[in-house]
């Protein structure tokens, strides 16, 4: 029985009058690759933002590796508590900042690439290791942490080799072509040593060949780094090829979930989003 890595429980996200995510319930189990699909504006990235702590949900809770990490309910006042007690539903408010959630083991990439423009490829990944540092600023400045830094640099090198960006490691991150920048973002997320990797449209802007490479790549890193992957995507070939399960979101509501075959044959999904394949 696979352990439950991520559980989203009755999450609603409301911005003023707009309900972006409506009572969402989903689960991602260990080692799975789960996809969240749906038309533009359905609320997928918003869901990601709630899960990673960028937004505090209007209602609901998020569990990570069996522990509640995010919680809010309409009657609750926002308190910046980090670890509440797990003694029942909706008794405490939990609103950690995204960095705390990353430290727990959840990492993400962004829909619009957010690399650090003034830094090299190598440094972009190295900076992501900062959250795993155990040195304070004095020791770091006085170079008393040489061992730890060397180990971190070695890890970064290994990651860059895995994603195939080692030869450009000293280039400025923004000088890379688009597809490589996306891979760099993934490498950067991997540097934080996550258990769960959230990918927001990793194949956006890629041609079919690049998409194929990415499909293989995601499978590889899932195996190599023992990850669980939760991704948002519009490229259906990638989604259908790689996912163990798929959730479908439309206007903030989940309208279907299941295996790729089930989703492809789900009438509601076809009407809302997928359409029917044209005869060749």
């Amino acid at each position: 029985m696979s352990a439950n890595v991520l559980k989203v429980e009755n999450v609603t996200m409301q911005f003023g009058g707009v309900v972006a995510v409506d009572n969402m319930n989903l689960e991602v189990n260990e080692g799975e690759i789960v996809a969240l699909i749906g038309p533009n504006g359905a609320g997928k990235t918003t869901a990601f933002n709630v899960i990673t702590g960028v937004y505090q949900p209007t209602n609901g809770a998020v569990w990570f590796q069996g522990e509640k990490i995010v919680e809010n309910h309409p009657q609750g006042k926002m308190k910046k508590l980090y670890k509440g007690q797990n003694d029942g539903a909706y008794t405490h408010i939990l609103a950690p900042t995204p960095d705390k959630i990353t430290q727990l083991g959840m990492a993400r990439t962004f829909q619009n690439i957010r690399l650090w423009k003034s830094q090299t490829v190598f440094d972009n990944v190295l900076i992501a290791k900062h959250c795993r540092t155990h040195t304070n600023f004095l020791s770091a400045a006085l170079r008393l942490n040489r061992k730890e830094e060397a180990a971190q640099r070695a890890h970064v090198e290994e990651l860059l080799k895995t994603v195939g960006l080692y030869d450009v490691k000293d280039e400025l991150a923004t000088s890379l072509p688009y597809g490589k920048q996306r891979r760099l973002e993934i490498a950067r997320a991997l540097a934080t040593e996550p258990k769960l990797l959230l990918l927001d449209e990793p194949a956006a802007g890629m041609n079919p060949q690049e998409t194929d490479e990415l499909t293989a790549f995601i499978g590889e890193i899932r195996d190599k780094f023992k990850l669980t992957v939760f991704l948002i995507e519009h490229h259906m070939d990638l989604v259908m090829d790689i996912s163990d399960r798929i959730y479908v979101l439309d206007f903030g509501k989940l309208i279907a979930d299941g295996t790729p075959e089930e989703i492809q044959n789900n009438q509601r999904v076809i009407d809302a989003y997928l359409g029917v394949a044209e005869d060749a």
Partner: protein, 292 residues
């Protein structure tokens, strides 16, 4: 009551003067998202020009001259120091504003030799003493709030019922889209600075009638306080700036009345800090959410 009445009257008057300056800040911030650090110095220059003009020519020529020169100054500053940086990051424009402020202060020091310029020929009629409710004060103290209200009403009318006003509102809402929709953004921005400088000139003439001299540093405090007023009221909101300015003017004078004159300045900054920490968008400000 009799004791604090003069302070209340003064407070309303000073508040009006701050309001006239504060509107300049809030208009510019609303459209350009720029804190025009040089605005306070424009106010000071208007005061200096008033001193020179009133000694050199009759009053009916002096007042228009002050208005024209100040408006021209505001216009030139925008064209020379802000327009070239319109596509630059926000910090660059703010640094430019600081640079302009620095330049104007140094220029003023050079021209005046660092000596405060005595107001030898105060504007007649408003600088005469009058009796109000048992307290003696200059007529300007009564004229200021009235004139401020009139000008603010005129401005609100301009913003809400004219074409250029609509253009300004559109630019304040969404700068880029306004440009794409064919609004002559340069004209709108220039208009904003013209209006702001005009009001600052009026405010300067009223303000310095109450003082014996205009010093280089004279622009600093009122300018900063007007700015706090704009933030307090909600930067980008004209009614907010006006309300904020009157509140600050009143509180300031009341603090002086209670005896803590040294702290009337510090009060304004303490208010600023409190506002920024509790409700940065101010009394009437808008909330903006960032999309991730």
């Amino acid at each position: 009551m009799q004791q604090i009445l003069p302070y209340i009257i003064n407070g309303i008057s000073v508040g009006g003067q701050y309001a006239l300056i504060a509107i300049g800040y809030t208009l510019v911030y609303g459209i350009l998202r720029l804190i025009n650090f040089a605005h306070g110095d424009v106010f000071m220059v208007a005061g200096l020009v008033m001193v020179y003009a009133t000694t050199a020519m009759p009053i009916y020529a002096a007042i228009p001259l002050v208005l024209v020169v100040t408006v021209a100054l505001g216009f030139v500053i925008e064209r020379a120091a802000y327009k070239p940086l319109r596509t630059a990051p926000r910090m660059s424009v703010m640094i430019s504003a600081i640079g302009v402020s620095y330049l104007i202060q140094n220029l003023a020091f050079y021209v005046t030799g660092g000596v405060p310029q005595p107001v030898t020929n105060p504007i007649p009629w408003i600088s005469e003493n009058v009796e109000i409710l048992g307290a003696s004060t200059k007529r300007v103290t009564l004229v200021t709030p009235a004139l401020t209200i009139v000008l603010v009403i005129a401005l609100v009318y301009l913003i809400n019922h004219t074409k250029i006003g609509m253009a300004m509102r559109a630019a304040a809402k969404d700068f880029e889209t306004a440009q794409l929709m064919g609004i002559k953004i340069n004209a709108v921005i220039s208009m904003t600075f013209v209006i702001g400088s005009f009001l600052a000139a009026v405010g300067a003439m009223l303000y310095f009638t109450n003082y014996p001299s205009v010093a280089i540093t004279s622009g600093g405090m009122p300018g900063l306080k007007a700015f706090v007023a704009a933030v307090f009221g909600g930067i980008g909101s004209i009614p907010g700036a006006v309300v904020g300015a009157f509140i600050i003017g009143l509180c300031e004078e009341l603090i002086k009345g209670v005896g803590y004159t040294t702290f009337s300045d510090a009060f304004t900054f303490a208010l600023l800090i409190v506002v920024l920490c509790v409700k940065p968008t101010g009394l009437f400000g808008e909330k903006v959410t960032d999309k991730v």
